[in-house]
């Protein structure tokens, strides 16, 4: 199994509070991703990173920010959580970033976030 951990694994918070989720990898992979998974929507990309301090937006980036100060850590921040951000969040890593469409993406165990 790829060495990917996410913390916390579960969190309940209130609307309007800031929340930070952490993804840590021990594989030294260059590319890291944050997805959210919701019933009826599947997995959707929030933000991704292609190197330290290099990040870009995904399909559903509104209300989220990310930071990557070290290769091994990718943080996802909800500046002011809303109930629509209740979801399961997955971090993923890949070594090559899908050049030519081929690569392997490894997923973390997920964080279940509930915003009341």
């Amino acid at each position: 199994d790829a060495g990917i951990t996410q913390s916390p694994r579960h969190k309940v918070t209130e609307t309007g509070t800031p929340v930070t989720l952490r993804c840590h990898q021990t594989e030294n992979h260059r590319y890291m991703y944050w997805y959210r998974q919701d019933p009826g929507h599947g997995l959707r990309l929030i933000h991704y990173s292609y190197g330290v301090k290099d990040t870009d937006k995904g399909e559903v980036s509104d209300g989220y920010s990310v930071s990557r100060s070290k290769t091994e850590d990718f943080l996802l921040t909800l500046e002011s959580a809303t109930s629509s951000q209740t979801s399961v969040y997955f971090c993923a890593i890949s070594e090559f970033g899908f050049p030519g469409g081929t690569d392997t993406q490894y997923f973390g165990p997920g964080t279940r976030l509930t915003v009341l």
Binding site: G42, G97, Q105
Partner: protein, 114 residues
């Protein structure tokens, strides 16, 4: 946005039966990947298909990539309760680096009853 439509969304069958799950799109992908996800865990890659018409086998699972690289199918022979899970297809664009991750279908929830 490139969409991947998976069908069926839910499937419950008896042990020993065969089944096919479909993943369709109007867009061309450089590769199609199939993942399996169990409750409380992240998706795990099963296979990647790259070439149009490609067929890959993984024990009782057969994966096919359409000739035009717009669709894919997963066929399971003699399904077993251990095959139960959420099956996801995902497409990679592959052009311009492709570092922006994968486009996922909504998944097929498969239950194999003993």
């Amino acid at each position: 946005t490139q969409l991947l439509e998976q069908s069926p969304q839910f499937l419950s069958i008896q042990e020993g039966e065969n089944l096919t799950v479909y993943c369709n799109s109007s867009s061309v992908f450089s590769s199609l990947q199939w993942y399996r996800q169990e409750p409380g865990e992240g998706p795990v890659l099963l296979v990647t298909v790259v070439t149009g018409g490609e067929v890959k086998k993984l024990k009782r699972l057969t994966f096919q990539f359409g000739d035009a690289r717009k669709d894919s199918s997963l066929h399971i022979t003699a399904a077993q309760p251990g095959d139960t899970g959420l099956y996801l297809c995902a497409g990679a664009r592959g052009s311009g680096g492709g570092a922006d991750g994968l486009t996922f279908g909504k998944g097929t929830h498969l239950i194999i009853q003993p």
